[in-house]
């Protein structure tokens, strides 16, 4: 699935990184705990989160996240946007809540990986 298709499915808007909208995403992770993201996320993923602070961008950087979707209409501040631009990470914002946003992407065929032990 491409970033463009994710944006369309979620009715989300670009905050930055529109030029990378053709990039491919292979899996997804929905989390507010960055430690869980670091433990379980796969590469080339989209991260859906309701958390909105610079550590989200840093965590995404470490995990080679392609795109971050802020749920519940959350908007990152200028510092975060600048950080994302420097790291070529796409930022999207959707009005959907976490459960719904994840559900929509799941329906479109995106998966989150194997169950944890």
């Amino acid at each position: 699935m491409t970033v463009k298709e994710i944006r369309e499915a979620l009715g989300a808007k670009f905050i930055c990184g529109e030029e990378f909208q053709d990039r491919e995403v292979h899996s997804a992770c929905g989390a507010d705990m960055m430690s869980d993201v670091l433990a379980f996320m796969k590469e080339k993923s989209v991260l859906l989160t309701g958390l909105c602070n610079p550590q989200v961008i840093r965590t995404a950087e470490m995990m080679d996240v392609v795109c971050i979707v802020f749920v519940r209409g959350k908007m990152p501040d200028e510092t975060m946007i600048e950080m994302a631009k420097e790291r070529e990470i796409v930022l999207l914002s959707t009005g959907h809540r976490m459960f719904t946003a994840c559900g929509i992407l799941y329906e479109k065929g995106l998966r989150g990986g194997a169950p944890c032990q």
Binding site: L38, A39, L51, N53, Q55, M62, T79
Partner: protein, 143 residues
């Protein structure tokens, strides 16, 4: 890349705006050196967890990263309260981080387990009231 490269960073306690800068810097350097992306990722994750731990729990410390053709060694030394029961601290889900840290998305008790999971060699030593030293290695397989 034949010689060793040594990178050194100071980590300030409680400075969450800068937390992760050292790991970010190391990640970029490794990428520029052409290190395999899977290796870079392992280093980035284990170092970032360690750096965040230092920001949350310590009174400040030093991160030293030694890059050689065979391995990447990370040594994190902090002054701080130390860890009373390392075995307990290593358990997934165990955390002593306060609520304000949880609001930042950390403190799930996954830091140390993640560091162990993503590094090839992991060693932790701690003295209560003095500080903690974590040594980690990620090996670079020969092509």
């Amino acid at each position: 890349m034949n010689e060793k490269i040594v990178l050194r960073y100071e980590v300030d306690p409680n400075d969450f705006t800068r937390a992760g800068e050292a790991s970010s810097n190391v990640k970029r350097r490794l990428k520029l050196l052409g290190v395999d992306p899977d290796i870079v990722r392992k280093v980035a994750i284990s170092l970032y967890e360690g750096e965040i731990n230092m920001v949350i729990h310590s009174y400040g410390g030093i991160i030293e990263v030694i890059i050689s053709p065979e391995e990447i060694e990370m040594i994190l030394t902090d002054k701080g309260p130390g860890i009373e029961d390392i075995e307990l601290a290593m358990q997934a889900g165990y955390s002593t981080a306060p609520d304000n840290i949880r609001n930042l998305g950390f403190g799930a008790g996954m830091g140390l387990p993640n560091m162990k999971k993503y590094s090839d060699e992991f060693n932790i030593e701690s003295t209560v009231g003095v500080g903690t030293t974590v040594k980690m290695k990620v090996f670079i397989p020969k092509e």
